[in-house]
Structures are given as C-alpha cells and as structure tokens.
C-alpha cells in the first residue's frame, strides 16, 4: 500500500513535469507570450528538464527551448551561455528520432541569429553531430539537420568552410535525391547557402555532383523547391566562367524558360537571377542564352511583373548587350528597348532606375544603329532628366551621365538629339553639338530641318568660351550655312536691324 502511495507521488511529479513542459511549448508558439516566459525565468527551468529520465519530457523541453531561441537572439544567447549546447550535441548522437529533431531545431534556432552564435554552435562540436544525423533514415531528422547546417553556413565563408570540412556536402547531395519534397527543399537551400560565399566552396558543391540533381528538379511542380533550386544554381554559377559553363552543360536551357511563367513570383525572380549570373561572364554564354530565346522570355517577364523583382531581368539585358554589338542588336530586335523604357518610367526606386539606365547605356553605345534604336524610344530626354534631377541619388546621376555620353557619341539621329539642345548642361551639350557638327555638313535635308525646327537659333544662343571645343563645333555648324542665315538667327539680330533703321537716310 505504502509502496503504491510512494509510486503515486512519483507519478504525479512526472505528470506535472510533462504538463508544464507541454504547456510551455505551446505557449512559446505565440510571440506575445515569450516576453512573459522570459521574465519568468523559463530557461533555467527548462534546462534540467532536458536531462529528464522520461524521453517525452526531454523531447518536449528541447522543442520548447528551440521555439524560445527562435524568437530572438537574446534568448539564443541565453541558451548558449547556459551551456545547454554540449548536452544537446551529445544527445543528438544518442537519442531517438524525435529528440534528434528537437535538438537539431534548437541548434538551428540558435545559429540563425548571428555569426558568433553560429560559431558557438560549431565550437561545441555541433557540426559532427549534425552530419551524423544527416545519415539517419528518418526524413524529418535529416530535414532538421540540413536546415541547421544551412543556417550555420549562411553567415560567412569561414562557417561554410567548417560545414564543408565536416563532410556535409555529399550527404546533402544524397538528401536532394530523397523522395520527400520538404527534405529536397531544405537540402537545396543549404547547398545554396554553402556555395554562395566563394568559388572554392561552389567548386566543392559541384564536385559532389550537385548540378545534375539540381537540374533534374527544375520541372518539379513544387514552387518552393524550385525557388531553392534556382537560387542554388545561381549561387554556383555566379563565381566563375567554368562553373557557369558547367551549369549550362546540365542542359537547363530551354526548359528553364518555362519556369519564367510560373505563378510563384520568387521562382521567376530566381530564374532571372540565374540567367543573369550565366550571361554576365562571356559573350559565348550570352550567345547561347540568346539563341534559345531567353532574351524574349525575360522581356516578357519584365512586362508582367512589378517592383524590385524586375532588377535581375534588367541587369541580365544589360550584361547581354554589353558583350558585343551583335548581342545588343539581338536585344533591340527582341523589342527590349520599349520594355526597358516602360520600366524606367514605372519604377520609383533609384537602384532599379540606375540599373535600367546602365542597361540603356550598354545597348546604345555600340554603333549609330543601336543609338538610333535607343533614341527612337524617347529615352534620351528621360536620361537627361534623371541626370539633372537633384532628388536622384549620386549613383543614379553618375550612371545616367555615363549612359548619356556613350549613347550620344554614336547617335546620328538628329530629331532625337534636338530636344537635348534645349535642356542639357554644358558638358552634355558639348557632345550633342559635336554630333550635329558631324552630321550636318553632309546632309542637306537635315540642315533644312535643323533650321526650321529652331535648332540653329538655339545653337547661336549657346555661349561658349572662345577656343574651347564647343566653340569649334559651333563654328563648324555655322560654316554649313550661308552667312545671312547665321546672322538672321543670331541673338540680337532684330536689334541690329532696328539700329540700321535709325542710321538709314531715306532718299
């Protein structure tokens, strides 16, 4: 009897602990409770429960700790300072799969906040334990371990190198081949985080054979998986030409273009990011992308989306056009210039405008044909306006000026240059007048048009320092016309005529 009563006491205590831990875990899911829990000192209470005999209590307390640490980095630091991590790491190797999941969750929650906390996780041997749990059968455990490794590797190159040195990459590549979609997602995102820091790390990921598996998942129906796959491929290909070539050799074109019509916005953005990273390296790669119709698909994509997600598409067009004038002509022929002009007028953020302006500069700088195509879309006045606007950021102004100069040096389409005569500051005006002085001596129709549209009048009104290049150009323009016309349009001519009236003696 008394034995039964004694055992009943223990049972009650166990029930009490279980209830406490489960309630805390449930409360920790809501952010508003966490402050209260923290003030009540929940950390110090949960710590001994991690070492409890009953496995359920251990697991639930680990889960609660993970949720608390997930919320903000003070709690994560408290977890680190309370020496809980070594215990978790030790039990990660020993216990059953629920506990492993919970322990990996805690490690991930701690490591996600800052590099120092991630370093703390690494220092207590978390990496080896996580890599061991990557070899488990249970997909949930693998997912939790891969997630934790991804968060650790995200912060900087040293931590990524540590993750790679622990031998995680081949196991992650194996995880990608598993049938569970969630596991594939997490493994792809972890590989992406590892590969993004340096070319050596990307090479390690590639050497483990990741590219073939990632490229097989391009046409998977799950949208989040596709996001991670494309992000991983773009992180790999951004570092060097060889890596980009290897990604292209996995035959992703043209099936990648299909994903540009995916309903998920971030999938489309990551696809354009990948295409940008590929095209930026060499003209041959850009040529390949152009030949498969990638430029047309990206231009359509730019037409359909709004806001910041347009940026990789615009940069991709700029990179393609920058390599050679054939490719720039290909961009023009695929109706890229009107679309970019729409982007320039619609977007309000300065960095997107700067990118668009840069792209225009790359398209228009090659030959007069290109400059004419850019000028025909009425882009030059907009560029000038952006350059002169005091509200634009410095970066935008510099880029607008460069683009304007490079286009103007090749532009021979005079109707497009005329509006610039009126508004441009002197350094831009110099180039405009130079272009006029190059074209007018040879084309009589253009001369006539120049006079009738009031351009000659404007040129006469320009004040330039004698001996400067601007004055030379003005002189060469004036030499194209008979003297009377030049005098007629020079400022103050009506006054001189009136003065002649004063001096004239009637017969």
């Amino acid at each position: 009897m008394s034995q039964r009563q004694v055992l009943q006491v223990f049972e009650q205590y166990q029930k009490a602990r279980t209830q406490f831990v489960q309630t805390v875990a449930e409360l920790a899911t809501r952010p508003q409770n966490i402050e209260t829990l923290q003030n009540a000192g929940v950390m110090s209470l949960l710590r001994p429960l991690l070492l409890d005999i009953v496995p359920t209590i251990q697991q639930t307390s680990a889960l609660a700790l993970g949720r608390l640490a997930n919320y903000n980095d003070d709690l994560a630091e408290a977890v680190v300072k309370g020496d809980i991590l070594p215990q978790l790491v030790y039990s990660l190797a020993e216990q059953n799969r629920f506990y492993k999941k919970a322990a990996a969750f805690v490690l991930r929650a701690v490591a996600k906040h800052s590099p120092t906390l991630a370093q703390a996780v690494v220092d207590c041997g978390g990496l080896d334990a996580l890599v061991i749990s990557l070899e488990e059968f249970d997909p949930g455990v693998k997912e939790a371990a891969a997630w934790a490794l991804g968060y650790i590797a995200r912060h900087n190159g040293h931590l990524s190198q540590a993750v790679v040195d622990a031998g995680a990459v081949p196991l992650l590549v194996l995880c990608i081949q598993e049938p569970e979609v969630a596991l594939k997602r997490i493994a792809a995102s972890a590989l992406s985080d590892i590969a993004k820091h340096s070319p050596e790390l990307a090479q390690t990921v590639v050497d483990a054979g990741a590219i073939a598996h990632l490229s097989q998942m391009i046409l998977n129906p799950d949208a989040k998986l596709k996001r991670q796959v494309f992000s991983a491929l773009s992180q790999i290909s951004k570092h060097s030409v060889d890596l980009a070539e290897m990604v292209v050799e996995a035959e992703i074109f043209p099936s990648i273009l299909v994903c540009l019509r995916d309903p998920d916005e971030y999938v489309r953005k990551n696809v354009t990011t990948l295409m940008r990273e590929i095209t930026k390296h060499t003209p041959e790669l850009s040529q390949l992308v152009v030949n498969t119709g990638g430029v047309a698909a990206v231009i359509d994509y730019l037409g359909e989306c709004q806001g910041g997600v347009r940026l990789p598409g615009i940069m991709m067009l700029g990179y393609v056009a920058a390599h050679s004038e054939n490719l720039a002509m290909a961009v023009i022929v695929s109706k890229g210039v009107p679309q970019l002009a729409i982007c320039l007028s619609e977007e309000s953020e300065d960095h997107i405008k700067a990118a668009t302006v840069w792209a225009f500069g790359q398209i228009g700088r090659h030959t007069p044909e290109h400059a004419r195509a850019v000028a025909a879309a009425h882009v030059l006045p907009k560029l000038l306006a952006l350059y002169m606007d005091p509200d634009s950021s410095e970066d935008l102004q510099i880029k607008a000026k460069k683009a304007l100069k490079s286009i103007l040096q090749k532009c021979t389409h005079l109707p497009a240059l005329e509006p610039l005569l009126y508004e441009a500051p002197s350094n831009i005006l110099k180039h405009v007048v130079y272009q006029f002085s190059k074209v007018l001596p040879h084309d009589s129709k253009a001369r006539r048009l120049f006079v009738t549209s009031g351009g000659l009048k404007k040129v006469q009104e320009i004040k330039a320092d004698v001996g400067s290049a601007l004055q030379e150009y003005i002189n060469s323009i004036n030499n194209c016309y008979p003297e009377e016309i030049v005098r007629y349009y020079s400022p103050g001519y009506s006054e001189t005529l009136l003065e002649r009236i004063d001096k004239y003696q009637p017969v």
Binding site: Q12, Q14, K15, A16, T18, Q19, Q22, A25, T56, Q59, T60, L63, F98, K101, A102, P254, L257, V258, L260, R261, P263, V290, N291, T292, G293, V295, A296, A297, D300, N326, M329, A330, V333, S334
Partner: protein, 348 residues
Amino acid sequence: RMARLVKLQNEIERIKEKYFTRNRFAEENRQRENEAAIKIQSWFRGWQVRAYLSHLHWKATIIQKIWRGFRARARFRQTVKIQRRWRGYYVRKYVHNYYARRRYMEGLIRKNEEIRRDLVDFSEFQRREREQIAMDREEQKKTVQAQRMHFLLSTKQCPGVFNSPFKPEPDEMELRLRRTKPQPPTASPRERDSRLGNRIPSTHSSASIARAHGAQPLPPIPIKKPQGPFREAAEVWAQRHRSLEPSLRVQTSITDLEEAQDQLRLEEWRNRTVDTLFQPFSKAHQNRRYERMIHTSSSFQPVPYGNKHFREERPDNLLGKKPFNRVFTTCQVFDKFGRLFSNAGKIV
C-alpha cells in the same frame, strides 16, 4: 622716116646680137636655173608631203590614243569587277558578313516568336492543370464530407437540412448525400493530429494527461469467449486480411530467363572493353616444363581435363545430351517458409 629705118636697121643688128647674147646667157644659165627650180620644187614638194605625213601621224596618234584609252578603261572596269568581287568575299569571310547577320536576326525574331507562343501555351496548360487539380480536391473534400455527414440525408417523414421545403429544388449537398455511401469517421483523433504535423510526440501523454486530470481509462469491453477450439479473433482477422505475398515463382516473369540472358549479354557488351587483357607474367608458368614428382613411376603429364577445363573432348560422348544450363529458373523450395498458418517448421 628714113632715119628711123636706118636706126631700126642698126637696131636690128643690135637686137640680133642681143637676141643671141640673151640666148647664150639663157643657155648658160639654163642648167643652173633648172637645177635651182628643181631644188625649190623638190623642197616644196618634200615639205608638202612631210606636212601631210605629220598630219597623218597626228591623226593616227589621236586614233591610237582613243583606242588605247578605251582598251585600258575597259580592262580597268574588268579588273574593278574582279577586285569588287574579291573584296566583298574577303570582307564577308574574314571581317563581317552583313547577310549572315541579317539572316541571324531574322531567325532570332522567329525563334523569339516561337518561344513566346510556347510559353503562353505552356502557362495556359499549367493554369488549366492547376484549376483541374483544385477542382478535383474540392470534389474530393465534398465527397468525404458527404460521406461523413450522411445522417443529414432527408427521409420521407422529415426533410433534411439541405432539402428545404421552401426552395423549389434540393441543395447540391442533398443530391451529393443521396449519391454517396455512408462512411463512419476514422478511429482516433490522435492519428489525425499527428498527420496534420503536430510534432509533439505524444505516445503516452494523452492517456497520462487524462490520468493526471483524475479520469480513469475505460476498462476493456468483456466479450464472452465462445466455447471451443477457436482461434483468437485478432489472429483470424489478420489471416483474413493478409496481403498478397506472391511466391518467388509467381513473381518472376515468364521471360525471366531471356531477360537474364539479355542482361548478361549487355553486361558483357558493356564491360568487355578490352579483348586482350593485360596480364603481366600470366603465361610465365605455362612455359614451364612439368617436373616429375620424385615418387611417381610413370612419366605422364597432368591431364588438363578435370583441372583446367571440364568440357568433353570427344564429341561422340555429347551426342545425345543437351548443353548445360547456365541460367536457371527460380527454385521453389522456400516459398512457403514462414507463411503457413501452422507452427510447423518454425524453429526457435
């Protein structure tokens, strides 16, 4: 008049003298004057001819000039034709080919159009697929709901919830309820929770929480055990609902033999890349002469048949026999092991 006549007669003498002297002078000078006249004439004639000749030369020169100029210009035009063709060819081949580029741009435009059309088609297709999937899921959900709420079906006496008498037609749900067969809800809510992703491992927790709150777990329902040599209900149930475990013979396909042979052939084709393998010193021992054992009395060599190969050397012995099978069909000895209901053969 006589005086005049005498004067005239004197004059006649003088005239005759004069006539003769003049004739004599003329005769003396005749040669000289003739030669002079001839010289003058010859010079004049020569000059005339020379003038005519130089005139002719000049005209000939003009004609030759025009002709040569014409020939040279014609030649020039021909060489220009050749040079034109050559320069065009050279520039197109080594510097820049305008027509190739124009063709490329036109091809690019066509390709872009094609890609745009394909993308539009594909996105349409995917949208329709997604809609189809969503609709199917809706349908499935409604069917499950109808199955579980089958008790809301209207009866003859009492119209159900979905069959309002004030409406002209019963609701769609009512029709669905009529169509589907009823199905009781699934056993334990705990299983449902874990399927939804609730990660709290709750193997013993619900029972223990219930006990913590003071409630007791219900005792098992007492079933009167039937009299007789009957087996446990659970056992019989398991036996009745046992899944198909085909024997190995049933599992293997009828063409298993041929497939295995094909596979062996493919492996051979794949793996055997080198016909003559490099085996260093592999034939070294074959050239060794047989050293007799000390204690034998005969000088016979070892017979390769029975050690090195087992093929029959005399074809007569093989006349009535079939060749060896190297690939066999499956062996059925262990098919029933562990699958019989009796406990025979289960050695602990």
